[in-house]
Amino acid sequence: MTPPGTLRAAWLVARKDLTIEFRTRTAFLSAVVFAVLALAIFYFTWDESIVTAADRAPGVLWVVLTFSALLGLQRSFGIEEHDRAIDALLISPISRESIYLGKAIGNLVFLCALQAVALPALIVFYNLHIASAILAVSGILFLAVLGIVAIGTLFSAMAVNTRLAELLLPMLSLPFFVPLLMCAAAATSRIISGAPASSARPYLNLLVAFDVVFVVACTLAFPYTLEE
């Protein structure tokens, strides 16, 4: 039997992770509950008469998504530590890049599914009227999540092998999320407030550039984080 190509192998790894998640649903349910709970709590942290709900919705969305993303990312390599399942992945005849890509695809699906719940919850709780902008907002979400996944998957692999484990992941990855979050929040607030699409353009360009650079860099860097 010939070993599968990089992309095919990546898909197999992703499917394995998603099957585990689909059958147990532990990480997804806790991330969803966390996200919706945080959306509700944040509603009460501003004075409604000073800042309207529509004005703070983008900021809330991005804070909530970042932290619920970290919940999912922590599990990504955490589940491989049980019974040293990672060793089985490493001796299988697939390249290390495809392990990374597979994990990243799994995380991407996880986070997109999370958003599919969080975004409608935001629209309901914050009474947003953005029916026309929903596609644009989803697009921005996807661009930002792609960058979060690229960085987060790599750092998740590194963090599980340290003494601090889960504690290290936010500390390493949050500074890397800064440009993503700044640009995504700015672009979202422009779209939601009905400003012309062109005003969001520079932020989107930066998001795309970030995604390209870090998807490539993290894929190349991943083999160095595994034991030789």
């Binding site: 790599l154 092998n161 340290t162 500390m171 500074p175 160095y224």
Partner: protein, 242 residues
């Protein structure tokens, strides 16, 4: 009784255990003392900013070595991934620690100066402040991660990966803060952060502060590198003894 072990111990323990604090370090300290005697007693006061301007001789001087050390750290990360030379890892670690110290000095003195001159401790839209703050977090994360890994090759590899990615991150933070700055307001409050014209005495003090701080940073990196060597040696002796 066990010759291989004792020979290994001897090799590690033997020659050239150089002192961490040597003449070069004390020369740098002397330079710092001389600089501040000059800055406080023999340099005229700024007409507009008064005594607050004297913080330039700490604040601006601290940035040069901080950014230089971060640059060397990133470069050493690439060198390590390429050559797997442990000297590059040690130098990268030393530079990261020194960068953290100088960034901390720069950020705190900057906030003190800004409170007096701009009227605010912190101005988010000032690009240099924000960039420096996030660099501080990146370097702090690098050092915390190093502290959380026991196996030295793994620590070196992870550090190098993080060092390279950090170098890639810097332009993105810079650009995103720039976009925000362009949107909100051009420059902070009434007084510009730009340097007023300096008298010759001030300029000499100012330029010598750069030289002194750079020498001090090199002395720190040098000492920290030797400390890392000593630590490894002690570690090896402990393992050989165990």
């Amino acid at each position: 009784m066990t010759p291989p072990v004792s020979r290994a111990t001897n090799e590690r323990a033997s020659p050239e255990v150089k002192p961490v604090l040597d003449w070069f370090f004390w020369l740098a300290v002397l330079g710092v003392v001389a600089l501040y005697v000059r800055a406080i007693l023999f340099t005229p006061m700024d007409a507009m900013q008064g005594n607050a301007q004297k913080i330039y001789y700490v604040h601006i001087a601290a940035w040069l070595p901080a950014y230089f050390a971060i640059g060397v750290m990133a470069l050493m990360s690439i060198v390590y991934l390429w050559l797997h030379d442990e000297r590059a890892d040690r130098l990268g670690e030393a530079c990261a620690e020194v960068a953290l110290v100088f960034l901390t000095v720069g950020l705190t003195t900057g906030a003190i100066w800004a409170r007096v001159i701009w009227g605010a401790w912190w101005v988010w839209w000032e690009m240099r402040l924000t960039l420096a703050l996030f660099l501080w977090f990146v370097v702090a994360g690098y050092l915390v991660m190093r502290g959380a890994i026991d196996e030295e090759h793994q620590r070196a590899r992870y550090s190098a990966v993080l060092g390279v990615l950090s170098a890639l991150l810097i332009p993105f933070i810079h650009l995103s803060v720039y976009l925000f700055q362009a949107r909100i307001h051009p420059m902070p409050v009434a007084l510009q952060p730009g340097k007023p014209k300096m008298s010759d005495e001030m300029l000499v003090t100012f330029l010598s502060s750069f030289v002194v701080f750079t020498v001090l940073a090199i002395a720190f990196v040098r000492g920290r590198y030797r400390l890392a060597l000593l630590r490894e040696r002690v570690q090896a002796q402990l393992e050989a003894g165990a």
